[in-house]
């Protein structure tokens, strides 16, 4: 075992020698530098390995004396992790920075080396004045290195940083000196013990000086101005080095210092300043136009979060390892992002349109780092945040959780806003870029790979081999972008089929809520990947991500723990986001999708935290929750799932996301993804519905609200669907409306209601998948989604026509097809519950649905064929096959609804203890309201229709055939061609009638929310005036303000 002291001594000795070594040539300098850092990596790694294996923490003495007489250092697990991280960052940063300056200078190398020494000293030392010395080393190293590469901006930022840093070190030094006077020792541990024994008068002020000094060193609000300038002005590679070394070291220093604050009045101040920083820095970041400045705000915010958690670590509510996960996550992700920013080189956010268009590997790196930054699984930040939140929940801090989640949502806004721009111009930007050296990308690649160590925790949380295998194959596909798209689709098809085969009969059963949804998911995935054999993949990574999506959903359904569920939920969210964004115009709608999904995720998370705070760990344990906890958990979960289901009020993300998704993905989004909130409502939220209802007593039934949310969604979306001019948007609104029906059915909380809802889940997958696939085929051939550019395609695409016909009949819920049974059951359930107004409302909206169903088939297939479409061919065969894979079950269900209803009956009976539906014979259903015979109805309808057809053919006037251009102008200026199309503004009279309802109050509301928060951010960030003296003044004012608050107590 090598003494940990050498982790400091060796690089320091090398730093001293480097100017001499440089006489041998710059190469010698570089080699020695890298070798030293490699030595550090090996030694630190070895120590970490031993310590993790249970070796005792290393205590290092200096001067030959034990503490408190000599300065001692410590290397425990936490220190080893940070030291290793520092060495790793320094190593990769050294590679990156090697060629970043025109004239390399040995002094730059020296400073880099000493910076590492400073960080490691800070991490390991247990002496307060020694801490001060290493703070100065780190500070001076930083001041010196920020002029690397970019002279002018680095100078300005560096000077401001130095000015505030010097004020900070005056405060720190004063604090340290007085603490020595007070306790007679400089050893941290010794001092902490003595301080807590005797809180002398005046010690509050001393600790305050130290605290404000450290707030400035930590770059927390309100003293983070110069640090943000530093990110803005300095070479990003230097900032990456600092993130991995100095920033972490200063944070750990402060973590050690919290021992001094125990029992003092400043504990709350630490919490508040930390959280304020997190929220405010994230808020200001949303208005940044410069990438690196935005990253600066983000770093400040992350530090704020970490500092916020420290008092809870002290009090034992949160584990130190949790904070460690967040630190590691931030270091790896932020450094990778900074290197990427350096490679791309564009400072303006808008200049990132289509960045890395021709460098898929770097793009993957960017996406991974962003996902990790915002705390999504499987990356370590997710686990850190989760455990931190659990700690807060158990400790009874709901408000802190709320604020933390709000801040995290802001993080979503600006990070995905950045990705939006990157994805935006991806098609248009393919110019030749300067060749990259491997030294530049080593950091990005290495650190993003390291981020994947979070997968280990994912495995524990999921415990689902199938899910992990699917996701793993997905990752391989993402990386193997050389494989052509259709072949990838085939791999996906095989993988999903294999999963289905494995789970067949065990988990894949319809008589269980999980099994039912799992069936829907796997079936949907197979249909879509089959269709994928016939369509080009929208992006090279498309199928890989798709498989990750499927894997996450499988895990979410199979898992038994709340953590596993939420991890699956979040992976589902980001992977579907990536898929939505992969089409040409998908980046904007995908951004909205992600922000709303993020909000939904945080609502769900809030609900889960209430449950975890109540001691619940597993999904099954949810039923033990009672009282107010049950109600608030239920409300949060229901709200989250409702947002994700695009319920009315939060629906504005859905139409665009559905419409602009790749045509291959929309069927899955509509048919499968939209069912996952239903799964959440039925399995997670419903488990606590009963105690939630009983908590409120008779006074009020919370499920009634959910029912109206569902009802309003169903009605509103149906209405909006009618007036769409775009085939996919029409289906999108329809889809959301249908999910509204399902929510309504679940909200009834009766056997009948659930049967109706679950029946509809399956049915909706079938017909909406069918319709979206059929439309996808049409769009592929016609090249447009607008009704005005279609028409008369019945002759060119007869198979698609039949698909759409069957689809809309099922959708409209009219006999004879499967949709009817679902609607019929729903009405009955509503009447049974006594919600007559809702029943009427739903019947009315079903009628409206006829309008758009007609629109769909009429505008696409009937009417006149456009001249340009005279040679259009039928959709590719895989697409047609996929459609007919969906048609068959629709027809089967139409004739034999019992084949689905029977297992559903068993499911419902399991859940409610009884089922009110009885079956008589093969095709007859009896409920309290009457009976339903599928065959009889089928026969009746066929007879009626055939009769009507014969009547029309014989008695009606003959249709006259006219050409598409058979239009006469009478000297007036012709309107734009699309307005001349027969299907244009088809339902305009109704539109006028509904004008007051349609005015778009909801989107106006969300726009206001966005505008107001942006206005606040814009006004607020003027706080950072850019003047060094103002920043110093803030430091003084902070001391006075905190003194005023804290010392008055």
């Amino acid at each position: 075992m090598v003494s940990p002291m050498l982790l400091i001594a060796v690089p320091l000795a090398v730093a001293f020698l480097l100017p001499v070594i440089d006489h041998l040539g710059r190469t010698a300098t570089r080699v020695v530098h890298l070798a030293t850092l490699a030595f550090g990596i090996v030694v630190a790694g070895d120590w970490l390995y031993r310590l993790a294996g249970g070796a005792a923490t290393a205590e290092i003495l200096t001067g030959g004396w034990p503490p408190p007489f000599g300065i001692n250092l410590r290397l425990g697990t936490a220190e080893a992790v940070l030291v290793l991280l520092a060495y790793l960052t320094a190593f990769v940063a050294a590679l990156y920075l090697a060629d970043r300056e025109e004239e390399s200078n040995v002094r730059g190398t020296v400073i880099q080396t000493v910076l590492v020494v400073g960080a490691i000293g800070l991490i390991m030392t247990r002496d307060l004045f020694n801490t001060f010395v290493f703070l100065e080393i780190s500070g001076i190293g930083t001041y010196a290195l920020v002029v690397f590469g970019r002279e002018k901006s680095g100078l300005e930022a560096g000077f401001k940083y130095m000015v505030l840093g010097s004020v900070a070190s005056i405060f720190v030094l004063l604090g340290v000196a007085f603490l020595y006077k007070l306790t007679g020792t400089l050893n941290l541990d010794d001092m902490a013990g003595k301080l807590s024994q005797a809180m002398v008068a005046g010690s509050g002020l001393i600790l305050l000086l130290l605290l404000v000094g450290m707030i400035a060193e930590l770059k927390l609000f309100p003293l983070n101005g110069p640090a943000i300038d530093l990110y803005d002005g300095a070479e990003p590679g230097v900032m990456a080095l600092l993130v991995g070394t100095t920033v972490n070291a200063v944070f750990y220093t402060f973590a050690k210092m919290t021992a001094l604050y125990e029992g003092s009045q400043w504990v709350e101040a630490i919490t508040v300043v930390g959280m304020l920083t997190f929220v405010i820095a994230n808020l200001f970041a949303i208005r940044q136009k410069k990438v690196r400045r935005m990253l600066g705000y983000s770093s400040s915010a992350q530090l704020g979060l970490l500092v916020f958690l420290l008092p809870f670590v002290r009090s034992g509510e949160i584990l130190a390892s949790t904070v460690g996960l967040l630190v590691v996550n931030h270091t790896l992700a932020k450094a990778a992002l900074l290197w990427l920013a350096g490679i791309e080189g564009n400072e303006e956010l808008d200049g990132w349109r289509g960045a890395f268009a021709t460098r898929p590997l770097l793009r993957v790196g960017l996406v991974v780092a962003v996902l990790a930054m915002v705390g999504l699984p499987p990356f370590p930040g997710f686990w850190g945040k989760w455990h931190a939140l659990v700690g807060l929940a158990r400790g009874g801090h709901p408000w802190w959780i709320t604020i933390l989640l709000l801040g995290s949502l802001l993080e979503f806004v600006y990070y995905f806003g950045w990705l939006r721009r990157v994805f935006d111009g991806i098609q248009e930007r393919a110019e030749a870029l300067r060749p990259l050296k491997w030294t530049e990308v080593a950091g990005v690649v290495g650190f993003t790979v390291l981020l994947f160590f979070g997968v280990r925790m994912l495995g524990e949380a999921w415990g689902s081999v199938a899910a992990l295998a699917l996701a793993a194959v997905g990752v391989v596909l993402v990386l193997a972008s050389v494989i052509p798209g259709r072949m990838q689709a085939a791999v996906v098809l095989l993988a999903v089929a294999a999963t289905a085969w494995r789970l067949w009969g065990t988990q894949l059963v319809l008589s269980d809520f999980r099994g039912l949804i799992l069936t829907v998911v796997l079936f949907g995935a197979m249909v879509v990947s089959l269709a994928g054999l016939g369509l080009p993949a929208p992006r090279k990574s498309y199928w890989g991500v798709f498989l990750i999506l499927v894997g996450s959903i499988v895990a979410m359904i199979e898992t038994t723990s709340l953590l596993g569920f939420f991890a699956g939920w979040e992976i589902m969210t980001w992977s579907s986001y990536l898929l939505v964004s992969s089409s040409q115009k998908g980046s904007r709608p995908a951004f909205l999708y992600m922000v709303f999904s993020g909000g939904a995720g945080f609502l769900v998370l809030g609900g889960l935290m209430v449950a975890l705070g109540g001691g619940v760990q597993t999904l099954a344990g949810l039923t033990t929750l009672t009282g107010a906890a049950a109600l608030s958990a239920w409300a949060l979960l229901a709200a989250g799932f409702a947002v994700k289901a695009a319920a009315w009020g939060a629906h504005i993300w859905a139409p665009d996301a559905y419409a602009e998704s790749p045509d291959l993905f929309t069927p899955f989004l509509s048919g499968v993804i939209s069912k996952l909130p239903i799964f959440g409502l039925g399995v997670v939220a419903a488990a606590i519905a009963a105690p939630a209802i009983s908590y409120l007593g008779r006074a009020f039934d919370p499920t009634h609200i959910l029912a109206w949310v569902g009802g309003l969604t169903a009605f509103g979306m149906t209405l909006l669907a009618v007036f769409q001019e775009d085939a996919k948007r029409l289906l999108a609104y329809s889809s959301v409306g249908q999910v509204g029906y399902i929510i309504l059915g679940l909200a009834v909380m009766s056997p009948l209601g659930w049967t109706a809802a679950l029946y509809h889940v399956v049915n909706h997958l079938l017909f909406k998948g069918l319709l979206f696939l059929a439309v996808a085929g049409v769009i592929y051939r016609v090249g447009s989604r607008q009704f005005s550019s279609m028409g008369g395609l019945i002759k060119r695409m007869p198979f698609s026509f039949v698909s759409v016909l069957i689809g809309i009949i099922a959708l409209a819920g009219v006999p004879p097809l499967s949709g009817f049974a679902g609607k019929w059951l729903l009405y009955e359930a509503l009447m049974e519950r006594g919600w007559l107004l809702l029943t009427a409302f739903m019947m009315f909206s079903s009628v409206i649905a006829f309008l758009y169903c007609f629109r769909l088939i009429h505008s696409i297939f009937l009417g006149q064929l456009k001249t340009v479409h005279r040679d259009v061919r039928e959709a590719p065969w895989p697409l047609i096959t996929a459609q007919y894979l969906l048609v068959i079950p629709i027809l089967v269900l139409s004739v034999r609804p019992r084949w689905l209803l029977d297992p559903l009956q068993r499911l419902v009976a399991d859940r409610f203890g009884s089922s009110t539906l009885q079956a008589v014979g093969d095709n007859t259903l009896v409920s309290s309201f009457g009976y339903f015979n599928a065959i009889a109805i089928l026969v009746l309808v066929i007879v009626l229709f055939v009769g009507l057809l014969i009547f029309l053919l014989t008695a009606g006037p003959r249709a006259k055939k006219v050409g598409p251009l058979d239009i006469v102008y009478a000297g007036e200026v012709p309107p734009p061609p699309e307005e001349l199309h027969y299907a244009w503004a088809f339902f305009r009279p109704y539109q006028r009638a509904f004008q007051p309802v349609l005015r778009g109050a909801v989107s106006a509301f969300w726009r206001d929310v966005a505008d107001v928060s942006e206005a606040i951010a814009d006004a607020g960030r003027r706080f950072y005036t850019g003047n060094a003296q103002t920043y110093v003044l803030y430091a003084f004012l902070l001391v006075l303000a905190l003194a005023g608050i804290g010392l008055a107590r």
Partner: protein, 127 residues
């Protein structure tokens, strides 16, 4: 009659005050650096004053017999000021000159970019 070290503490605080006021109020970069230097001196004075005791001597033991004579040593050591703050200040002074030098190097470079020493010229990065 001064019983304790108030005079030194007050002078030290005065230096810190003057120094920091120079840093925040004077717009000239070199003046700001001078301000830091003055404030540093004040802090150093304060720290030494913390370790000082009236009527005690410097922490130098100049009598070889003390090595064996523990009783006398105890007496003598009660008449010595605290060596630790002095050691800390030695370190702090050297660190201070290092920081000052680096700041001045910055000032020289900043002057080269703008031809001015006015701090308000160097606030382009903001918000």
């Amino acid at each position: 009659m001064m019983a304790g070290n108030e005079l030194y503490v007050a002078t030290a605080l005065g230096l810190i005050f003057i120094g920091l006021a120079t840093v925040t109020i004077k717009r000239n970069l070199i003046k700001m650096v001078i301000g830091f230097s003055v404030a540093d001196t004040g802090v150093n004075l304060l720290i030494v004053a913390l370790g000082w005791f009236p009527n005690r001597t410097a922490p130098i033991i100049d009598d070889p017999s003390l090595l064996s004579d523990r009783a006398t040593l105890a007496v003598r050591s009660a008449a010595i000021v605290d060596p630790v703050p002095q050691a800390l200040v030695l370190t702090a002074i050297v660190i201070g000159v290092g920081v000052t030098a680096l700041m001045l190097a910055y000032v020289i470079r900043l002057y080269a970019t703008e031809g001015s020493l006015d701090v308000s010229r160097f606030g382009r990065m903001k918000w």
